[in-house]
Symmetry: C2
Subunit: 226 residues, 2 copies
């Protein structure tokens, strides 16, 4: 998420991360999948992951944060402190694969907040070895906005991306998600009317007061270039 | 809401305002009560109101903002711009009662975000004439955190406060809300575990992924001094 339309990054990340946590909790119940490994990239996507981890803690899950290269922005430090205050373990930053391997062995489900819509190949260390490890774990994966390693327009053309079971698109489904065949949600219920009209977005209707909406497979035809 | 525990004011206000909007929408459906007059005070309480107004717009309500004395902080300007981008009318600041009188005549329900837990009497202009006008309108009122005009510890002892139908307490019910007899909700699901344990808060359980929880009347016995 990037700040826009008078919104601060704090606001957008809070609503985006909440939507990610609610999506995971809707599909994977805490009774069967309590241990969530939240994998965070170095950018804003990772920030969404930190917010989601905190809300998952609020929901009664047992999240663990893997964020091997935390960004320098103050907001990541604050979001990490908020996780610590929720007693959420944060795996110390490292370029080694062993901490991730161990964390995967202790997890029931993965929240993939590694790369977002601004990702361009190649996948750099330590994530180049992390993506295959995550895939090999065979754990269910919930990806944020676009599966990590996918191109925002061309999808998983490079074949290096994750293959999540669940995707939570933020604000609008991305062109690259067109080939995604799993369970698809939309979150980020903060697109102002003026913007929706300006770009003729034709976004799906959220039910009632919900912050997420599950998209029927036909909705994939309505992907937007955002 | 004030910033604490590494949270920014933007984050806390976003979650608080969302909870207020969700509470109003839970009790008063948009089919019967579409026109919400969001009455905002000059402080953080008013900021919660602006966030709630935006989310109510997202939910399909037709909110109008009355904020006669907007605070100078940058965040109030940004939150107002976000409302404008949602095509939410904002009544121009004024010390006159006429704009409020007219707005009340065009409303179905009121969100009272005028004074919060830091309010101390007396009620100053233009709110001294506004509170009686709001009461006389006989419209249903949803109050944020503590009914406007009530003392956070002594309640409506002065008798100058509003008498809302619904109250949404934030983070924890306040001592002064003990005598409130209406429908009572709790919002602000962001109290860190470390804080909850430190102050032995014993907060009610929120259901699932919800951001609000309705309190049974017996919960009123568990008010906290926060």
């Amino acid at each position: 998420m990037s700040a826009s339309g008078a919104f601060s990054i704090d606001q957008l990340m809070e609503l985006a991360g909440l939507a990610c946590a609610q999506t995971l909790a809707t599909v994977y119940k805490k009774e069967t999948h309590p241990r969530v490994l939240v994998c965070c990239g170095p950018g804003n996507q990772g920030g969404d992951g930190l917010v989601a981890a905190r809300h998952l803690g609020m929901f009664g899950y047992l999240p663990t944060v893997w964020m091997p290269k935390p960004g320098n922005k103050d907001i990541y430090k604050r979001l990490q402190t908020q996780c610590v205050n929720m007693k959420i373990p944060i795996i110390p930053p490292s370029n080694e694969t062993e901490p991730l391997r161990k964390a995967l062995a202790d997890a029931d489900v993965i929240l993939d907040a590694i790369f977002g819509f601004s990702f361009t190949p190649p996948v750099r260390a330590p994530f180049d070895s992390a993506l295959p490890l995550i895939t090999e774990s065979k754990l269910p994966i919930v990806s944020v906005d676009i599966p990590s390693g996918w191109d925002v327009e061309r999808g998983n053309a490079e074949g290096v991306g994750l293959n999540p079971d669940v995707l939570v698109s933020l604000t609008a489904p991305k062109e690259g998600a067109r080939e995604f065949k799993g369970q698809h949600f939309l979150g980020g219920r903060f697109v102002p009317k003026t913007l929706e009209e300006k770009f003729n977005l034709n976004l799906p209707q959220y039910p009632g007061i919900d912050q997420i909406v599950e998209l029927p497979s036909t909705e994939l035809e309505n992907t937007q270039k955002l």
